[in-house]
C-alpha cells in the first residue's frame, strides 16, 4: 500500500523534522512563498533576520556550536545571492549547513525572469554540493543526500534550489537517511600501516608538537587530543580554527601559530623534530614562507580530506581518516613518554615571550588587549565567544582563554567582516545554557548592524563588545607597517554613536573609555538580560603583536609589544 502523495514544501518540512532541525534561519520572498506558507502551520522555530547574509552566518554559528547542520531559507535572485558570502565562509571553515533557496518557476528558468539568478551555478565553487530540483519526485532523495553530505566527511554547505512550482507539486515521500552515493565514500579509519609509522615516529621524537585545527572540533576529537598530549607529554599548538579543542589554560598549550601567533608556538614549530598535524590545512597565515616552515621536523598529517594532505607542505606520514578515530588509535598504541628537556626549552620561551599587552605606543589608556582579558576574566566561564574579523579577532585569539571546543566562533578561512554578530545570534539559539559574547570591531559590526533588530525582537541574551578604534584597524596596521603610514580610506570617521544606535533598536548599551569604566561596564552587562552593547573606545593606533610579515619565516617573528 502506498502512502499519500505530498507537496514539495511539505517534504522539506518533514525532512527537517526527521533530521531533528529545531531552528531555521531565513528571510522570505516571492519564489519561496509556498514554503513559507507551509511553515506558518509548522511547529519548527524560524528566526527572521534582517539580511540573508546574517541568516547564513547565524546558521553557521548554530552549526559550529551544536555540530548539527545549520538550516537556511531564502528566496530567489537577490535573496539567494545575498547568501553567497556566508556560504563561502562556511565552505572555507568546513561548517555543515543545508540551504534552501526558492527559484523562479521551472518554465521561467533561463529567461532572465524577475528575481532570477543561477544560484546553483554561482555557488558551485563554494558549496560541497548543490542541487536544482527539476522534479518533485527527486526531492526526497535530494533532501536526504544533502543532509548526509553536509554532515559527514569534511563538513560543508549544501544548497538546494527549488523552483516555485516544485514546492506545490506532489509526489510520494519516502525519507531514507541511509544514503548511498557512488562518488562519495569518506574514509574514517586510518590506514593501519600509517598509524604504526606515526606511533614509531612519536616514540622516537625528542621535540614533538601537536598542531591541531578546526578538524578536531568538527570530529569531536578533543578528548582524544587531551589523552594523546597528556600521555606522551606533547605540547599543543592550535590554529585559529582549532581554539578550544584543547584547554587554553593548560600548561601544555602554547597558543596559536603563524602571523599573529605566540612566539613560543612559532619557535616550537620551527625547532620541532616531529609535528603531529591534525585537522589542519597549513594555511599561509600559519606557515609563513613555506620553504622555511618546520624544516627540522618530520610531519604526520591526519585529516579527513585527502586533498589537504600534501597540498601546501610535504608530508612524511599521511593518514586519511576521522581525526578522532585516528587519535584514539594512536593513544591506544602509545606508552607514556618523557619530553622533559623539550618542555623545559618551551617553558623558557614562554616566560621570555609572554603575549604583549600593548604595542608600546602611547595614546589613550584603554587598551583593546585589556578589554579582551577583562571579558575573558569576568565573562569567560561557560561562555561562547564569537568574533568578527580584524585586529579584535587576533586579540581575542591571543587573550581570551577558550577552554572548550565549539565555544569559539570565528571566520578563519574567508575572513568575513560581519560574521561575528549573526554567528553569536546563532550560538544563542544553539546553547541556551551558555553565555554568549560577541567581540566585534567598529568596522565589522557595521557590516551586519541591522541584526540588532533580530537580537532585540527575540530578546537574545548576549554581550556585544565593540572594540572601537575608529579605524579598519588591521588594514590600518598594514598601512602603518608596510605602506609608510599612508592611511588610505581606513578611517571610520562618520560611524554613528553605537550606544545610541543600540538604544534606538531597543537594546541597553554602555560606553567605556577607561580601564575602570570597561571593567564596570562588563560587570554590569553580565547581570542584565537581552542584548547589551558595550562600546569600548580604545587606543586608535594600537597594533597586533607579535607579528610575522607576510611571506617571512615564522621564526622571524616581530615581538613588537610590551608588558603593561
Amino acid at each position: 500500500m502506498r502512502k499519500k502523495k505530498i507537496k514539495g514544501a511539505n517534504m522539506i518540512l518533514s525532512a527537517l523534522q526527521k533530521e531533528n532541525v529545531d531552528v531555521i534561519f531565513g528571510f522570505p520572498g516571492g519564489a519561496v512563498l509556498p514554503l513559507y506558507d507551509k511553515l506558518y502551520d509548522d511547529p519548527v522555530k524560524h528566526l527572521l533576520v534582517r539580511h540573508e547574509q546574517a541568516a547564513v552566518h547565524a546558521a553557521d554559528g548554530y552549526a559550529r556550536v551544536t555540530g548539527k547542520p545549520g538550516v537556511v531559507f531564502a528566496t530567489s535572485g537577490p535573496g539567494a545571492t545575498n547568501l553567497v558570502t556566508g556560504i563561502a565562509n562556511a565552505y572555507m571553515d568546513s561548517v555543515p549547513m543545508v540551504l534552501f533557496t526558492g527559484q523562479v518557476a521551472k518554465s521561467f528558468i533561463g529567461t532572465d525572469a524577475f528575481q532570477e539568478a543561477d544560484i546553483t551555478g554561482i555557488t558551485i565553487p563554494v558549496t560541497k554540493h548543490n542541487y536544482l530540483v527539476k522534479d518533485v519526485a527527486e526531492l526526497p532523495d535530494i533532501l536526504a543526500e544533502a543532509f548526509y553530505i553536509a554532515s559527514t566527511g569534511r563538513r560543508g554547505p549544501v544548497l538546494i534550489d527549488v523552483p516555485k512550482d516544485v514546492f506545490d507539486q506532489e509526489a510520494y515521500f519516502d525519507y531514507n537517511r541511509e544514503v548511498d552515493i557512488r562518488g562519495y565514500k569518506p574514509t574514517y579509519e586510518g590506514h593501519v600501516g600509517q598509524v604504526s609509522r606515526a606511533v614509531k615516529a612519536i616514540r622516537n621524537a625528542k621535540k614533538p608538537v601537536i598542531f591541531g585545527g578546526g578538524g578536531l572540533i568538527r570530529a569531536g576529537a578533543s578528548k582524544a587530543l587531551r589523552e594523546l598530549a597528556e600521555t606522551a607529554k606533547i605540547p599543543v599548538i592550535l590554529s585559529l580554527m582549532g581554539l578550544g579543542a584543547y584547554p587554553g589554560d593548560s600548561p601544555l598549550f602554547l597558543g596559536m601559530p603563524g602571523m599573529h601567533g605566540s612566539v613560543t608556538a612559532n619557535y616550537a614549530l620551527t625547532e620541532a623534530d616531529l609535528i603531529i598535524a591534525t585537522g589542519v590545512r597549513f594555511d599561509d597565515r600559519v606557515t609563513g614562507k613555506l620553504e622555511s616552515f618546520a624544516n627540522n621536523a618530520k610531519i604526520i598529517h591526519i585529516d579527513i580530506d585527502p586533498a589537504e594532505i600534501g597540498k601546501n607542505v610535504a608530508i612524511d606520514v599521511p593518514i586519511v581518516g576521522d581525526v578522532r578515530l585516528v587519535l584514539e588509535e594512536l593513544v591506544k598504541k602509545l606508552k607514556p613518554g618523557s619530553t622533559d628537556a623539550w618542555l623545559k626549552q618551551i617553558n623558557n620561551w614562554q616566560s621570555q615571550f609572554p603575549m604583549p599587552l600593548g604595542s608600546g605606543k602611547n595614546g589613550q589608556n584603554l587598551k583593546p588587549q585589556f578589554v579582551i582579558r577583562e571579558l575573558s576574566r569576568l565573562g569567560g566561564e561557560n561562555a561562547i565567544v564569537a568574533t568578527d574579523v580584524g585586529q579584535h579577532q587576533m586579540w581575542t585569539a591571543q587573550h581570551f582563554i577558550v577552554r572548550e571546543p565549539q565555544t569559539f566562533l570565528t571566520s578563519g578561512g574567508l575572513g568575513t567582516m560581519g560574521y561575528g554578530f549573526p554567528a553569536a545570534i546563532g550560538a544563542r539559539l544553539a546553547a541556551p545554557d551558555k553565555r554568549v559574547i560577541c567581540i566585534t570591531g567598529d568596522g565589522s559590526f557595521q557590516m551586519n548592524i541591522q541584526e540588532l533588530a533580530t537580537a532585540v525582537h527575540n530578546q537574545l541574551d548576549m554581550i556585544i563588545a565593540v572594540i572601537n578604534n575608529s579605524y579598519l584597524g588591521m588594514v590600518r596596521q598594514w598601512q602603518d607597517i608596510f605602506y609608510e603610514k599612508r592611511y588610505s580610506y581606513t578611517s571610520m570617521q562618520g560611524s554613528p554613536d553605537f550606544v545610541r544606535v543600540a538604544e534606538a533598536y531597543g537594546a541597553k548599551a554602555f560606553k567605556a573609555t577607561t580601564n575602570e569604566e570597561a571593567t564596570a561596564a562588563i560587570e554590569e552587562a553580565l547581570k542584565l538580560k537581552g542584548p547589551i552593547l558595550i562600546d569600548f573606545i580604545v587606543d586608535p593606533e594600537e597594533n597586533v603583536y607579535p607579528m610575522v610579515a607576510p611571506n617571512h619565516s615564522i621564526s622571524d617573528i616581530i615581538i613588537g609589544g610590551v608588558q603593561i
Partner: protein, 164 residues
C-alpha cells in the same frame, strides 16, 4: 609532463561544469577534454589531458575526487595505455593537386570524407605526433579549417578503469 586522466562521472546536470570549473578556479590548465557515455547507463567518461608536475597532478586528482558526482579518477599516463584522437581537416584541393593530397592521406591511413570542386575534408585518427605530422604536410595546400575531438584513452591489456 602531460597526464591523461580518465574521470568517471555520474551523468547529472552540471557535472561537466563542476569538473571544468574546478580546473579554472584551482588554476589547473586543461589541454583537452573529451566526454562520452560508458557501458553503464548514467555514467560518462571524461578523458582530460593536463600538463603539470607529479605533485600538481596528485592535487588535481584529489580535488576531482572530492566532487560528489565524480566516481573514479585514474591517471592513464602512469600505465601503458593507448591514446587516440580524431581530427577532421578541410583542405584547399584543386583538380591538379587532389591526387597528391590523396597520397598523403593514404600514408597516414586517413580517409577522404567529403570532396567539393575546390576542397576536401579528411578524417584522421591517431596520436598527437601523427596529427601534427599530417597537418604540417597539408599546410602546403592550404588548410581551411580543423576540428579535433580531444584525446581518448584506454589502458592496454585486459585491465579496465572500474566504476568503484
Amino acid at each position: 609532463m602531460k597526464h591523461v586522466l580518465a574521470v568517471l562521472v555520474e551523468n547529472k546536470p552540471g557535472a561537466l561544469t563542476r569538473v571544468s570549473g574546478l580546473f579554472s578556479r584551482r588554476g589547473f590548465n586543461i589541454e583537452n577534454i573529451a566526454v562520452g557515455e560508458t557501458l553503464t547507463p548514467g555514467i560518462s567518461r571524461m578523458t582530460i589531458t593536463v600538463e603539470g608536475s607529479e605533485t600538481l597532478i596528485e592535487q588535481v586528482m584529489k580535488q576531482l575526487h572530492k566532487l560528489i558526482n565524480v566516481i573514479r579518477v585514474s591517471n592513464l599516463s602512469a600505465e601503458p595505455s593507448v591514446m587516440r584522437e580524431l581530427m577532421l581537416i578541410k583542405v584547399r584541393a584543386e583538380v591538379g593537386n587532389r591526387s597528391d593530397i590523396q597520397q598523403i592521406v593514404e600514408t597516414f591511413r586517413g580517409k577522404v570524407v567529403d570532396v567539393s570542386p575546390n576542397s576536401m575534408v579528411i578524417e584522421v585518427t591517431g596520436n598527437e605526433e601523427k596529427m601534427e605530422a599530417i597537418k604540417l604536410l597539408l599546410e602546403h595546400f592550404g588548410i581551411l579549417e580543423i576540428v579535433r575531438t580531444g584525446k581518448v584513452a584506454l589502458l592496454r591489456g585486459a585491465k579496465i578503469t572500474r566504476e568503484a
